[in-house]
């Protein structure tokens, strides 16, 4: 197996930052290092070779695609999606007629489709404005297509059954050439945008932000910065959902949120 030391990692992040404007300096070290090793093995490069290739814009796009972790599921943590349907969405509707949702770091879009299915089954899809963002343009293109391998659909279907949806997941996709093609009408009104949580600004206000298992790739300093952006992007009494094993308690502005559901890690903004 190939190995890289911290000095090499620093050279790589410095180059990508100065040359292309992507800042991975504050990514969590262990997973970032594994991603770099993965790329070195995939392209059969050493550090010098990688640094040379990173001068090229085209290659850097591929690099971004491999650096970011794009492993996701539909209805991952079914109990979270039940809470969303049974508690959170109804609570938002008490104050707002339209539900504004941001999927931050949407990857290949599984959670965006999950959300659309959930809303459709509540007959609320037309009441929702969904914005889905990722820093990786390739994965956004993939997300828009909504094409997943049949192998992954087995897990997605199991999750959907545990979510206790009102239909069957098969209602929402067709099998064509060994792929599951999701119903595009589900995401017809979704706005897919290229946005980097590290350097991107505030662009809208939301009732609900989903950012599950994204900030685990950041160190605590960066988690802090991103949480400030989420705080600013939420309406007062808006909700933030993070991964089940993530926590906000050590962030600077944790006191501006309360925990609505600790098991599923849903927070509510209570102070501006």
């Amino acid at each position: 197996m190939k190995d890289v030391d911290i000095a090499d990692l620093r050279r790589i992040t410095d180059l990508v930052k100065t040359k292309h404007g992507y800042d991975f300096t504050n990514y969590a070290m262990s997973s970032f290092k594994r991603r770099i090793v993965r790329i070195l093995e995939l392209y059969n490069l050493n550090t010098e070779g990688l640094l040379k290739k990173l001068l090229d814009r085209q290659f850097t796009e591929e690099f971004l695609n491999e650096i970011t972790v794009n492993v996701t599921e539909m209805f991952r943590d079914p109990s979270f999606w039940r809470i969303l349907r049974d508690d959170i969405i109804p609570a938002i509707l008490l104050n707002h007629q339209k539900i504004r949702i941001w999927h931050a770091g949407c990857s290949s879009g599984e959670e965006v489709f999950s959300m659309a299915i959930l809303l459709k089954e509540m007959d609320l899809l037309h009441n929702a404005q969904i914005i889905a963002t990722d820093l990786d343009t390739n994965i956004l293109e993939k997300a828009k297509k909504g094409e997943y391998t049949i192998k992954n659909m087995e897990l997605n279907e199991k999750n959907y059954i545990r979510f206790q949806g009102s239909g069957v997941l098969k209602d929402y996709y067709k099998e064509i050439n060994g792929k599951a093609i999701l119903d595009k009408s589900l995401v017809a009104d979704v706005s897919w945008r290229n946005h980097d949580l590290v350097k991107g600004g505030i662009f809208n206000k939301f009732d609900l932000i989903l950012c599950r298992n994204v900030m685990i790739y950041f160190n605590q300093a960066l988690q802090n910065e991103v949480l400030k952006k989420f705080h600013e992007s939420l309406f007062k009494y808006g909700y933030l959902a993070i991964g089940s094993k993530e926590s906000l308690i050590w962030c600077d502005i944790a006191n501006k949120f309360i925990v609505v559901n600790n098991e599923e890690k849903v927070y509510k903004k209570i102070k501006d």
């Binding site: 070290m29 262990s30 594994r34 972790v69 991952r76 199991k158 685990i216 991964g243 094993k245 993530e246």
Partner: protein, 198 residues
């Protein structure tokens, strides 16, 4: 000098296990002193979609509370940590955990190789790695990383394992310092505890 060749400069114990390791783990956790001087970091193969129950089952007989760490949680001595379902668990320089949802490794998430590898990187020669019964080769490479950094390597005696694929994978990849039955692993950990008291 103890027969296990221990010293009191270790920073952590890391344990990997899979099929057939549950009884052994319970025996170990119920036999160590409640003021064990090091963190015990465990990565055990488990069902991906079942988040609850495992940590509770391990806690019943354990002398120390077993918890699943949150991302970026600090690591403390005398605590037992279990890799949560459907996340890889790594240790970072600075002595805290980070979790990830990266691709499965050896068909596993959590993968033992990832936990052991990151522990080897952070704790280097101040680490004890223990690999128990299992039906998969996951953990074998992790034990090699530990040995390569100068850590102490221990596997469960294959004849005592319900399935010996895992310890045997480690034995074929690297030097194993001690091949022990569960009761001897317990003795090793208790001896370690004594070294830290004096």
């Amino acid at each position: 000098m103890s027969k296990f060749n221990l010293h009191n400069r270790y920073k952590a114990v890391v344990i990997g296990g899979s099929a057939g390791s549950f009884q052994g783990i319970v025996k170990i956790l119920s036999s160590i002193p409640s003021n064990f001087p090091l963190p015990i970091i465990m990565c055990l193969h488990r069902l991906k979609h079942v988040r609850n129950g495992f940590v509770e089952a391990l806690s019943i007989k354990s002398t120390v509370e077993v918890t699943e760490p949150y991302d970026k949680q600090n690591i403390k001595k005398g605590h037992v940590y279990l890799a949560p379902a459907n996340y890889h668990m790594s240790v970072e320089l600075g002595n805290y955990f980070s979790l990830s949802t990266e691709e499965m490794v050896n068909n596993s998430r959590p993968a033992i190789d990832i936990t052991l590898g990151s522990c080897a990187y952070v704790y280097r020669n101040k680490l004890i790695g223990i690999l128990l019964s299992g039906a998969n080769k996951d953990g074998g490479l992790g034990m090699k990383y530990i040995k390569d950094k100068g850590g102490l390597t221990v596997v469960q005696e294959p004849t005592e394992c319900m399935i010996d694929t895992m310890p045997k994978a480690a034995m074929s990849l690297t030097t194993i310092d001690h091949v022990l039955r569960i009761e001897q692993i317990v003795r090793l950990l208790n001896e370690l505890h004594k070294l830290y008291k004096t």
